[in-house]
C-alpha cells in the first residue's frame, strides 16, 4: 500500500485540498462573507506555532530529556495569559498605522527608521531560515522512511536522495506557489490573507487529529493505557530517568527555554503575521488567550507516552527518536495510520512554511528592498529639484504603480526564502529538529528588547534599538550560528574547541570561560546581556528626534487614547492635493489611488482609524459603489482643469478635492497611512515628505503637544470621575432625604395612633367614672362591675404606655438585658402554662412539641417569655373559631435554636406579612373581609381580660384589644438577642410565627448588645 505513487498522490491530494480551501475562503472574503472572522479560527491559526518540531521533534526531545520538551509550550501559555494586555496593544498600534510586519513595527516605533527595519529583516531571515529547513528536513525524512516500509530505517541510514528525487524540494516549490497565490494577493500588506489563514487553521486541526490518533493508538492500542506504559518504562532505569528533570535538564535551562518560547510566540515572523496582521478583531484575543494554550496542552499530552513507547519498542540507537511518531504505527503494521501521521506532519510543516515565507516576503519587500529603491529615487530628486516637485522614483509606474514592483519583490522573496531553507537543509541539516528550532527562537528573541521595550519604555530610542539588536544578533551568531556551521564542516572545528586564534577565552560555546550551561542558555545569557545592556545605555545617552518622541507616545499610550488621535496632530506643513494624488497614482496604481481617495472621502472628517468592521465596510463601499461616495461635501467642479486630468476625469469631476488646493492635514495623514500599508511605514514617510512642505517640529514643540494632549486626557478623566462622584453623592442624599421623610411620616403616624389608642380607654374610663359620680346610689354589684371596667381599661392604658416606653427603650438601646444561658424548652413550657387560659377561654387547644431538655440558648429569659406570650396570644386570637388549635415546636436547625408557633387561623396574606411587623399596622389577616370581621369579633370578645398576664397585647387583628405594638416589639427583642422573627403563611392554612435564637456559646460576637448602660449583659 505504501508505494511511492500512493504516498505522492495522497500528499498531492492533501495539498490540493489546501489550495481549494484557501481559494474558497478568498472567494468568500471577496464576497464580503468572511469565513475567518471568528475567534476560533484565530486561535487555530495561532497554532501554526506547532510545527513539525512539535509534531516529530518533541517526541525526539522527550526521548532524551523527558519532560524537558515542555517549556516550549508552557511559555506561550504564560504569554497569552498576558495577551489581552500586550498582544492587543500591538494589534491596536499596528491597525492604527497599517503596520504590516515586525520590521515595520520596529521601524515605526523608532521614528520611521528604515535602517532599523532593514536590520530586523536581516535578523529575521537569517534566524528563520534554519527553522524552515527543519520543516523541509522533516518532510523529506518522513517520506523516505515511509517508503521503506516495512523496514524501519534510522536517519543515518537514510542518506540523501539526489536533489531531483527529493520530495522536500517539490514540497518546497509547491508551497512557494501557494504562498505566492494566497499570500501576495494584495499590494496593501495590511489587508488580510483570508485564504491563507483558513488553510492554516484547517491544517491545525489535521495535525492535532493525526497526532492524537497516533497517541491514542500507541497508548491504548499497543499498550494498556498510561499506567501500563509508564509502569513498563519505569522498570528501565534509563527510561525512568525521563520522568524527572534533574539529570538531563537543569532548572536554569528550563527557565531559559520558557523565556525563549514566551518571546518567540510573539516575535517569530509567522506568529506576528497570524496574531497581528491577520487579526480580524482584537476581541478575538480574549478567546485565543486560553484556547491556543489549550490546543498546545492537548497536542502535548501524548508526547512523553509516545517517546516512552518508542524507547521500549525500539530500544536506544536503532530508530531516530525524531521519527518515533511515524515508526511506531509502521512497526505495528498500521499502514493507514502511518499515512495519516505523515499527512499530519506534512500539514505541520506546510502551514509553517507558508506563513513564514509570506511574513518574510513582506518584510524583505517593504523594509529592505523598497526603502533602498525609494531612497535612491528621492535623493536624486532632492539634489535636482526644488521642494514640492514630484519627480521621484520612475520605476514601475503604470496601472499598478510601483506596487507592482513591491508584489514582484515579495514573490521573488518567497521563492528565495524557500530555496534558502532547502539549501540549508541540504548543506547543514544534520542537527536534530529541536536544536535547529531553538537556534531560530534565540534569534527572534533578540527583537524583544526593542519591540517590547518600545511598547512600555518611553525613553527607548532608535539608536538604542539599533545598538541592542545589532549587538544581540552578533552574539547570537557567534555563540550559536558559528558552532553549527563549524559542525557542518564549513568552519574549522578548532574554532569551537580552542577558540579563534587559539584564544580559549573566546570559545563560542563557553564565552569568557562561562561553561556548564547548555548552548542555548549560554547564548541567551550573553546575547541578552549585550542586547538589553546596549538598548538601555544607548537609549539613555542619545537625544531623541521629534518623530521618535511622537511615536514613542502613540505606541505606549495606544490602549489609552482615542483611536483617531494617532499622529494626526504631530504634523505641520502643507501639501498640494495634486502632489498627493500623483504619489498615490504612482505607488498604488490608478485603481488603487482611486480607491484610497474614495475611502478618504467616504470617511470625511478627521480620518478615524478604522476598526475592522469600518475598514471592511469602507472597502466594500469603495469597491462596490463608487457612485455613492461623492455625496459628501465636495469642491465644486473646476472645468478649466478637466482636460489635464485625462485618465479619470469623469470620476474626478465629482469626487476629489481640487488639485491645486492645499490638502487638509487629515488627507496627508491618510495618504501616508495608505502608503504605509503598501510600502512600509519608513518608505511612506519618505514619500510623503517628498511632496510636503513640512515645517519640522522641534522636540520641545512635540513634547508640548503631547503634554497638552495627555493633560487634556487627564483633565477629562478627572472631570468624568468628579461627575460620577457627584452623581453618587446626589443619589445618596436623595435616598437619605427619602428615608428622613418616611421616618417623619412614620413619627406623625405613630403619635396620632398612640393618641388615638390612648383616647379609647380614657373615654370609657371617663364615661363609667361619670356614671358612678352622677349616681351615688347605684347598686353595689353594678357599681362593682363599672369599677372593674374602669380598672381593666386603666390596666390596658398602662400596658399601652409601658409598651410604648418599652419599644422606645429597646430602640434607643437603653433597655437592660440580662443575657444568660437558658433552657429554651423550659421557657416555652412556662409560657404555655401561663398562656393556656387564653386558649381554654376560647375553647381552643394548645399542643407542645418540646424536647424534655431543650437547647440552651444565650438570651434574656424574661424577654423570651414576653415574646412567647405575645405570639401565643396572637395564635389564640386567630386560631380557628370553632376548632381552634395551636402548636408550639422547639428544635435546633442550622446551628440555631428555633421556635415555631403555628395556628390554624385564616393566615396572613403575602402582602401583609411585612406590614404586621410595623408599629400600629394591624394587618388584616387573610385576604377576605369576612375573615377580618371574624377575627375582629373574636378579638373583641377576648378583649379586656385576656391579657391580664401583662406580658403584652396582640399585635395583629383585634383592633379593639391589641395595641399594635406586640409584634414589632417582639421582633426588636429577638433581633437584639441575635435572632430572627418572621411569619410564613398561606391563606387558609393558618400562620406560623417562627423565631430563632443563638445557641449558648455561639453568641454572634455580641454585636446586638452594644447598647450603652446594659450593665448585666452577660450576668
Amino acid at each position: 500500500m505504501l508505494t511511492t505513487w500512493v504516498i505522492a498522490a495522497v500528499s498531492a491530494a492533501y495539498l490540493g485540498l489546501l489550495f481549494a480551501i484557501a481559494r474558497y475562503a478568498d472567494r468568500r472574503a471577496d464576497a464580503g462573507r468572511s469565513v475567518v472572522s471568528s475567534s476560533w479560527v484565530y486561535a487555530l491559526s495561532l497554532a501554526v506555532y506547532a510545527t513539525s518540531w512539535t509534531y516529530y521533534g518533541s517526541v525526539g526531545r522527550a526521548a532524551s530529556t523527558g519532560v524537558g520538551f515542555l517549556p516550549i509550550y508552557l511559555g506561550p501559555t504564560l504569554t497569552f495569559a498576558l495577551g489581552w494586555l500586550v498582544l492587543r496593544k500591538i494589534i491596536r498600534v499596528s491597525r492604527q498605522r497599517r503596520i504590516t510586519s515586525l520590521a515595520d513595527f520596529a521601524s515605526a516605533r523608532y521614528g520611521n527608521s528604515a535602517l532599523l527595519g532593514a536590520l530586523v529583516t536581516i535578523v529575521a531571515v537569517v534566524g528563520v531560515v534554519p527553522y524552515i529547513s527543519l520543516q523541509l528536513k522533516a518532510v523529506s525524512n518522513t517520506f523516505t522512511i515511509l517508503l521503506r516500509y516495512p523496514e524501519l530505517a534510522s536517519s543515518a541510514q537514510l542518506g540523501r536522495p539526489p536533489v531531483v528525487q527529493d520530495t522536500a524540494l517539490y514540497v518546497a516549490l509547491l508551497l512557494a506557489v501557494f504562498a505566492i497565490l494566497f499570500g501576495t494577493r494584495h499590494l496593501d500588506a495590511s489587508e488580510r490573507h483570508e485564504g491563507m489563514v483558513a488553510a492554516v487553521a484547517f491544517e491545525s486541526i489535521v495535525k492535532l487529529v493525526a497526532f492524537l490518533g497516533v497517541g491514542v493508538f500507541v497508548t491504548f492500542g499497543a499498550f494498556g493505557g498510561f499506567g501500563d506504559l509508564f509502569e513498563k518504562g519505569a522498570a528501565d532505569p534509563e527510561i525512568a530517568a525521563l520522568f524527572t528533570l534533574a539529570p538531563q535538564t537543569g532548572y536554569g535551562a528550563w527557565m531559559w527555554l520558557t523565556v525563549l518560547s514566551m518571546l518567540a510566540v510573539l516575535l517569530l515572523p509567522r506568529q506576528w503575521q497570524v496574531a497581528v496582521v491577520e487579526n480580524v478583531d482584537e476581541r478575538h484575543v480574549a478567546r485565543a488567550s486560553w484556547l491556543f494554550p489549550l490546543y498546545l496542552l492537548v497536542i502535548n499530552v501524548f508526547v512523553l507516552p509516545v517517546a516512552v513507547a518508542g524507547l521500549l519498542r525500539f530500544g536506544p540507537n536503532t530508530v531516530d527518536p525524531d521519527t518515533f511518531v511515524l515508526a511506531l504505527p509502521m512497526a505495528q503494521g498500521q499502514q493507514a495510520l502511518a499515512l495519516v501521521v505523515f499527512i499530519g506532519g506534512l500539514s505541520a510543516s506546510t502551514a509553517m512554511i507558508i506563513v513564514e515565507t509570506v511574513a518574510l516576503a513582506t518584510m524583505v519587500s517593504n523594509s529592505l528592498v523598497l526603502p533602498v529603491l525609494l531612497r535612491g529615487g528621492t535623493r536624486h530628486r532632492r539634489a535636482g529639484q526644488p521642494r514640492g516637485g514630484t519627480r521621484y522614483l520612475r520605476v514601475g509606474a503604470g496601472p499598478r504603480g510601483v506596487g507592482g514592483l513591491a508584489l514582484a519583490v515579495r514573490r521573488v522573496t518567497i521563492v528565495a526564502v524557500v530555496l534558502l531553507g532547502y539549501g540549508y537543509f541540504r548543506l547543514a541539516g544534520g542537527a536534530s529538529l529541536v536544536s535547529l528550532g531553538l537556534v531560530s527562537f534565540a534569534a527572534v528573541a533578540q527583537f524583544a528588547p526593542a519591540i517590547l521595550g518600545g511598547l512600555y519604555w518611553r525613553e527607548g530610542s532608535r539608536a538604542g534599538a539599533l545598538a541592542g539588536l545589532a549587538g544581540g544578533f552578533s552574539v547570537w551568531a557567534y555563540t550559536l550560528l558559528v558552532p553549527s556551521l563549524a559542525r557542518a564542516g564549513w568552519l574549522p572545528t578548532s574554532l569551537i574547541e580552542d577558540g579563534p586564534l587559539g584564544i580559549t577565552l573566546l570559545r563560542p560555546e563557553s564565552l569568557f570561560g562561562l561553561s556548564g550551561l547548555d548552548p542555548i542558555s549560554h547564548a541567551m545569557v550573553w546575547s541578552m546581556l549585550v542586547n538589553v545592556g546596549a538598548y538601555v545605555t544607548v537609549s539613555l545617552r542619545t537625544r531623541r528626534t521629534p518623530a521618535e518622541y511622537a511615536q514613542a507616545a502613540t505606541f505606549i499610550d495606544a490602549l489609552r487614547q482615542p483611536a483617531h488621535a494617532a499622529g494626526t496632530r504631530l504634523w505641520r506643513g502643507s501639501a498640494r492635493v495634486a502632489d498627493l494624488r500623483e504619489l498615490l497614482d504612482r505607488y498604488l496604481g490608478t485603481d488603487g489611488a482611486r480607491e484610497a481617495m474614495g475611502r478618504y472621502l467616504g470617511g470625511r472628517g478627521p480620518v478615524p482609524v478604522p476598526n475592522d468592521d469600518q475598514l471592511a465596510a469602507d472597502e466594500q463601499t469603495a469597491a462596490d459603489d463608487p457612485v455613492r461616495l461623492p455625496k459628501r461635501e465636495q469642491t465644486s467642479v473646476d472645468l478649466d482643469r478637466l482636460p489635464k486630468d485625462d485618465q479619470h476625469a469623469a470620476d474626478d469631476l465629482v469626487r476629489v478635492p481640487k488639485d491645486d488646493q492645499l490638502a487638509a492635514d487629515d488627507l496627508v495623514h491618510h495618504v501616508e497611512r495608505v502608503l504605509a500599508g503598501a510600502v512600509g511605514t519608513a518608505s511612506a514617510r519618505v514619500l510623503v515628505a517628498s511632496v510636503v512642505h513640512e515645517e519640522p517640529l522641534g522636540v520641545d514643540e512635540v513634547i508640548q503637544i503631547l503634554d497638552e494632549a495627555s493633560q487634556v486626557r487627564a483633565y477629562s478623566r478627572e472631570l468624568e470621575r468628579k461627575s460620577a462622584e457627584l452623581e453618587a453623592a446626589t443619589a445618596e442624599l436623595r435616598a437619605a432625604n427619602d428615608r428622613l421623610r418616611e421616618l417623619d411620616r412614620m413619627k406623625d403616624d405613630f403619635v396620632s395612633t398612640v393618641t388615638h389608642e390612648l383616647r379609647t380607654p380614657l373615654t370609657s374610663i371617663r364615661a363609667f367614672s361619670e356614671i358612678l359620680l352622677d349616681n351615688p346610689d347605684l347598686e353595689a354589684p353594678e357599681r362593682g362591675r363599672y369599677l372593674e371596667i374602669v380598672v381593666a381599661e386603666t390596666a390596658r392604658l398602662t400596658r399601652l404606655i409601658n409598651q410604648v416606653l418599652d419599644l422606645a427603650k429597646i430602640e434607643s438601646g437603653t433597655a437592660e438585658w440580662h443575657i444568660g444561658e437558658v433552657d429554651l424548652a423550659e421557657i416555652v413550657r412556662d409560657a404555655a402554662a401561663e398562656g393556656t387560659q387564653l386558649f381554654t377561654g376560647k375553647g381552643a387547644e394548645l399542643r407542645l412539641r418540646v424536647p424534655a431538655t431543650g437547647p440552651a440558648v444565650a438570651a434574656d429569659p424574661d424577654r423570651v417569655m414576653q415574646v412567647l406570650l405575645n405570639l401565643l396570644a396572637n395564635a389564640a386570637t386567630f386560631s380557628d373559631a370553632r376548632h381552634g388549635r395551636a402548636v408550639v415546636q422547639v428544635r435546633v436547625t442550622g446551628g440555631v435554636a428555633r421556635v415555631d408557633v403555628h395556628d390554624n387561623g385564616p393566615g396572613v396574606a403575602a402582602d401583609q406579612q411585612q406590614v404586621i411587623f410595623e408599629r400600629f399596622r394591624q394587618g388584616s389577616r387573610a385576604t377576605g373581609d369576612r375573615a377580618t370581621g371574624g377575627t375582629s369579633d373574636s378579638g373583641r370578645s377576648g378583649g379586656g381580660t385576656a391579657h391580664s398576664g401583662g406580658a403584652g397585647g396582640r399585635a395583629v387583628g383585634g383592633r379593639a384589644a391589641g395595641t399594635g405594638l406586640g409584634l414589632p416589639i417582639s421582633r426588636e427583642i429577638i433581633e437584639r438577642m441575635g435572632g430572627r422573627l418572621w411569619v410564613t403563611s398561606a391563606p387558609g392554612e393558618g400562620a406560623t410565627f417562627s423565631f430563632t435564637l443563638p445557641l449558648a456559646g455561639h453568641s454572634p460576637a455580641g454585636t446586638h448588645y452594644q447598647a450603652p448602660g446594659e450593665s448585666g449583659a452577660e450576668g
Binding site: T77, A81, L85, F230, A240, F243, W290, P293, L297
Partner: protein
C-alpha cells in the same frame, strides 16, 4: 475601542501570568521533580499537566468575566 470601555481587570491577568511563572519555575518545580509515580503516571508529568490545565482554565474564567 477607547478607554471609556471598562478595561478588564488587568491586575487579574498579570497575577495569573505571575502565578504561571511560579507554578512552572524553580523552586516549586523541584518539589515535584521526584522519581515517583502517582496514579500510575510520573509525578512531575502529572503535576505539569494539571497545573497547566488549571492555569488555562483560570485564564478562560478571567476572560469570560471581562466580556
Amino acid at each position: 475601542m477607547n478607554d471609556k470601555q471598562p478595561e478588564p481587570r488587568h491586575a487579574h491577568l498579570v497575577a495569573l501570568g505571575a502565578l504561571g511563572g511560579v507554578l512552572f519555575g524553580y523552586p516549586l518545580l523541584a518539589v515535584f521533580d521526584v522519581p515517583a509515580m502517582v496514579l500510575g503516571v510520573p509525578v512531575l508529568w502529572a503535576y505539569l499537566f494539571v497545573a497547566w490545565a488549571a492555569l488555562v482554565a483560570a485564564v478562560a474564567v478571567a476572560m469570560r468575566r471581562l466580556n
